[in-house]
Symmetry: C2
């Protein structure tokens, strides 16, 4: 097992998450919320999940500068310079490259885990085991680009899938055959039945060398941008350089830009109770319900409702009656009442308020 | 036509009105709301409706002391001593007697109109004509106890009715045959068909002598209470006397206590577009709707809703989708979502919040 002092964690926390409107908003996105009522925001829970294997000083949070104060509020153990501020959103590849160049200025032998900031994990112990397993694998496979692959529990059409060969099912780390975009329902059913497909969690493990080599090979445009400021990273000039040049990066995901192209991709099949809680519906499956199947949070009198999600902010009270399969959410002077099955339209509807 | 300087108006404004929860609450009852979005509260509109026939200094508002400041805020032309404060609710008879004793200390020849503070009138000019007609009638009929009777536009079961003889339909002021309690639906249909029944508006017109004589005859218990302080009315001691003795009055309505017993009752049939807006449903019938039949007030995106009442306080925004015949109301940290047809249960439901 490697020493943890070289382990780095990049938390990607730039999302704006309008899908949970009105709980999440531009000025308070999902990663800072405690939607599940656990007492911890998603970003806080993410930090705690990695802290057994990553020293506090090796966490980096990449976010928009608008959220820097929120990040430090939720993660007060971080120094200010551990919050890397993107001046604009450019998807995951530039975000990861930014953090990798920053790490390069501090530690050439870094092992890196990259994670979203707004997912749910139920079994932290198993999660830690999987992450350690990934770091261990790197000591013999410096150029491996690993993804955590989640054993699918249902034919989910909202996630990308990772295909591995049908043989070799005993191995803890599997070579990837192919990354698959979000499938339609029939394809998702097939994926689950065939057994050699996993959900793409968006959690990556690699060495600094591994990801820098991949960026050089597959994302030369991004390498060119950051190489211009190579001596600024890790200095007080870093932020100015980023502010001036980050937006020159193409908007591209690490999946599309690197993982789908590299021959060095691996996945670690895992089963630690994971969800990206990307929708109210996925939230519904993860919280306790009353006898009528309602997931209720807040001071609410519920009368004759069934299978509803009702989420009312503290300090506000509600009476809700006569709804089946509806979502009722109130926060920060904004109210949403809609059919749960139509929630994917929330983004469209809220445009009407602008 | 009598001079208006002897005309007094008693506005009864002690109601707590939980039927419009969450818009109306104990600390902000319906009479102070602008539910219809007219720019005027009910109590303000009530005052303005009477002001052509009653001098400002002859208005009296009877309310709970908790609402005194609100009354003066909505009616800043009143002096403090024009707001009579009941220490507790004792229905309309003690309320009216209190105000009558107060008026007696100021003007022995008063003509009095008594009105609720929370009804809607669409045609103020016709309203004024009717009230003047009532005052005129008093000059020849000092002991007449008049009620404004509203020509029924539908078989409403939420109002009391006033029966007049079938003959004499040309008279502007009709002798009352009988006051009828709220009927069931079949009876209400019959009342409307027969044509000699009117809704009891709760607006009364009488002389000071007329109502004092009636109180003496039919409500001696109430007379006894107020006679004890007869020399306090109109003095700085009035409020102390009321605080000490008002609750000795029996809880009884003026309809039951006087109108149903006196042989001197009359009604003036009127048709000035009246509603007591006692329910969300009655509100719905009086406001403009969008093409899908939704009555919407506030900053609301409505998607695929039909025949809903949606009422969101200023400063708050809402997206409401997929509801038919529902009520969605938000005010002052309280939310209600329920079927419009079940709104009579609101009182019961909100008990659950306590």
């Amino acid at each position: 097992m490697v020493e943890i002092m070289n382990n780095y964690c990049i938390i990607m926390a730039g999302g704006i998450g309008s899908r949970f409107w009105p709980l999440s908003k531009d000025n308070y996105p999902k990663q800072f919320l405690d939607i599940l009522g656990t007492g911890k925001s998603f970003i806080r829970a993410t930090y705690e999940r990695f802290s057994p294997v990553v020293p506090d000083e090796n966490f980096l949070v990449v976010t928009n500068k608008a959220y820097k104060a929120l990040v430090l509020e939720h993660l007060p153990m971080l120094r200010e310079d551990q919050v890397l501020c993107e001046p604009a959103r450019r998807n995951t590849a530039p975000c990861i490259a930014y953090a990798a160049y920053h790490i390069q200025s501090r530690c050439k032998d870094a092992n890196i885990v990259v994670t979203p900031s707004d997912a749910l994990v139920l079994d932290n112990r198993e999660f830690e085991r999987i992450i350690r397993l990934g770091f261990d694998f790197l000591s013999h496979n410096t150029n491996a680009l690993m993804t955590i692959g989640i054993k699918p529990s249902r034919p989910e059409t909202g996630y990308g899938y990772i295909q591995v060969p049908k043989n070799g099912t005993q191995e803890a780390v599997r070579k990837v055959d192919m990354f698959k975009e979000k499938p339609n329902y029939e394809t998702a059913v097939k994926f689950v039945e065939e057994g050699n497909y996993f959900w793409n969690s968006g959690i990556f493990i690699w060495t600094l060398d591994g990801i820098m080599n991949a960026i050089e090979t597959y994302l030369p445009d991004i390498k060119n941008v950051f190489d211009k400021g190579i001596y600024n990273f890790g200095t007080p000039e870093e932020q100015d350089f980023i502010n001036d040049h980050f937006t020159d990066c193409p908007n591209i995901s690490i999946d599309y830009g690197v993982m789908e192209k590299s021959p060095n991709t691996y996945t670690i099949p895992a089963d630690f109770g994971w969800s990206d809680i990307g929708t109210w519906g996925s939230l519904y499956t993860h919280v306790s319900k009353d006898e009528q199947g309602n997931a209720v949070r807040g001071k609410v009198v519920t009368v004759d409702n069934h299978n509803c999600v009702i989420n009312i902010e503290d300090g506000t009270e509600a009476v809700v009656q006569g709804l089946d399969d509806y979502l009722v959410a109130y926060r920060d002077k904004s109210l949403l009442v809609c059919r749960l099955h139509d929630e994917q339209q929330i983004k469209v509807w809220i445009e009407g308020l602008k």
